[in-house]
Structure formats: structure tokens, C-alpha cells
């Protein structure tokens, strides 16, 4: 009971930090709008599809003729009410467009966390238990994965699995003319997941490797051997379990890398997630979408951190709840 109250308090404290992050990002968005040369709508004047009247209406609508401070508070008020304006390109509320694209990014991120953790942990175990040549080979592989451009790896996968072997589709989510189809969806997500996992597995690998080496040297493990337990039991029940804890932290620390990598991967495979949406918003100069996506990206990273913190509390009894 006592412990549960501690956890609740800790989670509450972490939740309290969330508004601070959101507030900061709204501020960044606001500053970005006003730093853009000539303001956010000036650039539309050179676009033939917008008449000067329309631009003037937009400026009116966004209150750009009011004092800066009033604009700032109006902006905060609107964002907090889920009002990110109307997309220039799609002509519908930004929030609706975002909600169409966000789930695909979440699915891609979730799959990649699973796959890269599995690869990273497996390689970490292999490298510490086999050592020698395997260890060196896996280290080299991980360093190579760090320096390999993720979009090139994606294109190479397309070259092998779509062009040569004709096994997997190279773009989008569905085969055209059909609606949602789970089998097709899964088939389309394989290569994006593999590409993103290449980016994410090295930190998991290095962390698993170093914490396994550390735990194997720890006194409590040596005591277990002294007690007469077999190597297999010590490894499975104690070394492995203790060494896997930091992996969760690694995933939390790499939230920004995960969603940043997802951005590139989505563009390579035209996977309709936040990254593809952001990129097309840039090409279309669709500023309301662009600013909203910056906001949602930081929200995603913050929520992922929060989840990791909470999970960590439940699996590691030693954590300091203060």
C-alpha cells in the first residue's frame, strides 16, 4: 500500500512536467511563425492559387494584425482547445488531418521498438556469452549501423525485396482500390520497420552488452555461483533479468531519435505517417500542418518518456521515487 502511494505520487509528478513541455513547444512554434521572413502568410502572396484578399483574410483570422503579446496568448488558447487552424492544402481542420496520419506513425514506432529491442538484446547476449570474434563482429556491425544513412538502407531493402525478389511492396500502405486489409498493412510495414530498427538497435545492443558484462562481475552473481547454482540458472534468472532493465531506459532516451528516424523512413517508403505529412506540408508550404506536427512530435516524445518512467517504476523496485 505504501509503495503504491509512492508510485502514484511519482507518476503525478511526472505528469505535472508534461504541461511545461507542451507550453515550451507552443512557444517555439509561435517564435518560428514570427521569425519566418515576412511572417507566415507573406510567402502565399507569391503563390498564384491564393489571392491577396484571401491572404488578408488569413492574416485577420490568425489575428496577425494584433499586438504580439495578444497573438501569443490567443495562439496558446487555440492550441489548448485543439484548434490548429485549417490546412491550406487539404482545406479541412489540421487536427483531423493529423489524426489520419498519427496512428500509422504509432504503429511503425511500436513495431520498430519491438524489433530493435529483440535484435539489440539478442546480439548483446550473443556477444557477451560467445565473446571473441563474434563480439568483435557484432561491435563492428553496430558501428556500421550508426554510420549507415537510414534512407540508403531503406532503398537497398527495396532493391533486394521489391525489385529483385518481388516479395514486398515498396510504397504506401494498401494495394490501390482496396480498403483496409490487415495482411496488406503488415506486408507493407515490414521494410519500414526493418529500416527504423537499424537506427534503434545499436544503442540497445551496446547497453545490453555493457550491463551484462557489469552484472556478470557483480558480487551477488559471484555469490550465486558460490551457492552452487549452475551457470544456466544464474544467467537466466539473475544476470539476464538485471541486465535487461537499462534497455527500457535506452528506449526512453531515444524517443526523439525514434520519431526522427521514422520521419525519414516514412518518406522513403511513402508510409502515410506524421513524417510524410510533415514533409508534404513543407513542400506545399502548409504552415498550419507544419506547426501542428512539431507540436505533436514533441508530445509523442514526452508521452513515450512518461511511459518508460512509469514502466521502470513497476519493474525495478530499487528506483528512487523522489
Amino acid at each position: 500500500m505504501h509503495l503504491n502511494r509512492g508510485i502514484a505520487k511519482y507518476i503525478a509528478k511526472r505528469l505535472a512536467l508534461l504541461p511545461l513541455t507542451i507550453f515550451s513547444v507552443i512557444t517555439i512554434d509561435f517564435v518560428l511563425i514570427h521569425l519566418a521572413p515576412g511572417g507566415p502568410f507573406q510567402i502565399l502572396l507569391s503563390d498564384p492559387s491564393f489571392s491577396p484578399q484571401e491572404v488578408a483574410t488569413l492574416q485577420e483570422e490568425y489575428g496577425l494584425n494584433k499586438p504580439l503579446l495578444i497573438q501569443y496568448f490567443t495562439y496558446i488558447y487555440q492550441v489548448l482547445h485543439g484548434n490548429f487552424g485549417i490546412s491550406y492544402f487539404y482545406g479541412v481542420p489540421v487536427i483531423r488531418v493529423i489524426m489520419d496520419y498519427l496512428p500509422n506513425t504509432l504503429v511503425l514506432a511500436g513495431f520498430s521498438i519491438l524489433v530493435s529491442s529483440a535484435i539489440g538484446i539478442l546480439f548483446g547476449i550473443l556477444s557477451t556469452s560467445l565473446g571473441g570474434l563474434i563480439d568483435r563482429a557484432l561491435n563492428t556491425l553496430a558501428i556500421l549501423s550508426y554510420t549507415l544513412p537510414v534512407f540508403w538502407f531503406g532503398i537497398l531493402l527495396i532493391l533486394v525485396f521489391s525489385v529483385s525478389l518481388r516479395l514486398l511492396p515498396s510504397t504506401g500502405v494498401y494495394v490501390s482500390n482496396t480498403g483496409f486489409n490487415l495482411a496488406q498493412y503488415l506486408k507493407h510495414i515490414i521494410m519500414p520497420t526493418l529500416s527504423l530498427s537499424l537506427l534503434l538497435y545499436p544503442p540497445v545492443y551496446f547497453f545490453t552488452r555493457s550491463s551484462m558484462l557489469e552484472v556478470a562481475q557483480a558480487n551477488f552473481v559471484r555469490a550465486l555461483y558460490g551457492k552452487g547454482l549452475s551457470e544456466g540458472v544464474v544467467f537466466r534468472k539473475h544476470v539476464l533479468r538485471n541486465a535487461l532493465l537499462p534497455v527500457i531506459t535506452v528506449i526512453g532516451l531515444h524517443g526523439a531519435v525514434l520519431f526522427g528516424g521514422a520521419t525519414i523512413v516514412e518518406i522513403v517508403f511513402t508510409w502515410p505517417g506524421m513524417g510524410l505529412l510533415t514533409y508534404t506540408a513543407i513542400l506545399n508550404k502548409d504552415y498550419p500542418i507544419l506547426l501542428a506536427s512539431v507540436f505533436f512530435y514533441s508530445l509523442l516524445v514526452a508521452v513515450l518518456n512518461l511511459i518508460v518512467d512509469i514502466v521502470y517504476v513497476f519493474i525495478d523496485p530499487r528506483i528512487n521515487l523522489k
Binding site: 544513412p149 531519435v257 520521419t263 514533409y279 514526452a302
Partner: protein, 266 residues
Amino acid sequence: MANTKLNGEIMFGISVILFFTITSFFGKYFIPINPSVQHLSAAFQPPSWSHPFGTDYLGRDVFARTLEGGSVSIEVGVAAGLLTVVIGGLVGIFSAYYGYKVDITIQRVVDIILSIPLIVLVLVLVALFGSSIALIVFAIGILTWPSLARITRAETLSLKERDFVYAEIVAGASGIHVVFRHLIPNQAKTILVYSGLAMSSATLIQAALSYLGFTGGSVSWGFDLYMAQQYIFNGSWWMTFFPGAAITLTSLGFYMISEGLRKMWR
């Protein structure tokens, strides 16, 4: 300075970077094939004696483009890496040395920058302000410094409790003097090791930007990869393989210099 002999990692890194620097910036004086000349009748040719890496969709020679396409990557890699190191190093040191409000404010800024995916912010900056090389360097520099700032901050916090720094402060030395005469020289190795990593990742960010169309130059590996992907289904693998391998080698080169320095000073 236990071991100052150049090790394999450093030699590998320096050779790769030197090689691409020479071919990219001076290649036009000794590489017989012009990377920009089009031969539409000879498009999509596989590797052969006359075109070792084949030709692309406009019949341009992929070998010459791979050798000479690195100038923007290397420029941005080195310049943005250095900018990152200068900002990150100084911010971390000043933040820890002056402490209190300066420190809290800077830590807050670090948290915010680290909470948004880097490539998204770089893309937004480039989209709003243009994609010149100077702007790309600036965008990478002002967004990637926090990792180093965390390292130099931690090291400065421990250095500033040491006697020789106390002695300087007691003797009436100014903050600037302490920072530049003691705090920076004492963590120069850490900063140098980090600069290789910063250059390696700046190279990758530049490549990604150029793949997305923000080239900042004419011949560039990233953009060649984008074009290659448009023609990927006609099976001309050489168009995708060689420019990508060049990006990987360059990024790996910077990484290995850093890794080698770390080993040398350990």
C-alpha cells in the same frame, strides 16, 4: 600522453576523409570524366571498363559523380560539426561554471531541444529560411549542441572543485581567464573526441536533407540517391549503391577518427 602513436582507426578515418576531400574538391583537375556531362543515349549502362560504376538516368558517369559528389557533405560535416562543438563546449562549461540561474535556464533549453526530433526541426528551419549551405550548417549547429553541453557541463562541475582552479579564482582571475586557460584545455581531449562524432552525424543529416531535395549544391550524393530511387524498378542498382556507400564511408571516416582518438588517449 601515454600512447600517441596513430592507431588503425585514426589512419583509416583520415585516409577516407582525405581521399574524398581530394577527389571532391580537386577531382575536376585530374578525373578525366566530367560528372555533369549528359549522354542520353548511354543512360542506365551497367558498370563496365569505360564506366566503372555505370551511368545514371541522364547518361552521366556514376564513378565521377561518386568521387566528386562529396564536397557539400564534407563542407557541411566539418563546418556543422565544429559549430556544434564550439556551441556545446562553451555552453556546457559556462553553464556549469556560473551555475544557478544561468545553469537552470540552459538546462531547460536543452530539454526542449532534445524533446523534438532533430530532423523535423532542421526540416522546418530549412523550409522557413531557405536551404543554403550556410543555413544548413547553422541549423545543424544550433540544434545538435546539447549532447556535448551535457558532457562538458558534468566535467566542468568536477573540475571547478579542484585546487588549481580555486587558486586561480582566489588570485583574482576573471571567469573568462579560468574558462579559456583551465577549463577548456583540461577537457580538450573529450571535446576533440566528440567533434569526430559531431562531424559524422552532421554528414548524415546533410545527406538526408539533400535526399529530401534540400541540396545546397549541385552534385550531391543524397540527391543522386533520391533520383536513383525514382528509377529503381529498372534494376540499375549501381545508381543507388555507390553514392550511398560514399556517404557511409565518409560518416564512418569521421566516426573512426573519433574512436581512434578515444582509444589513443584512454
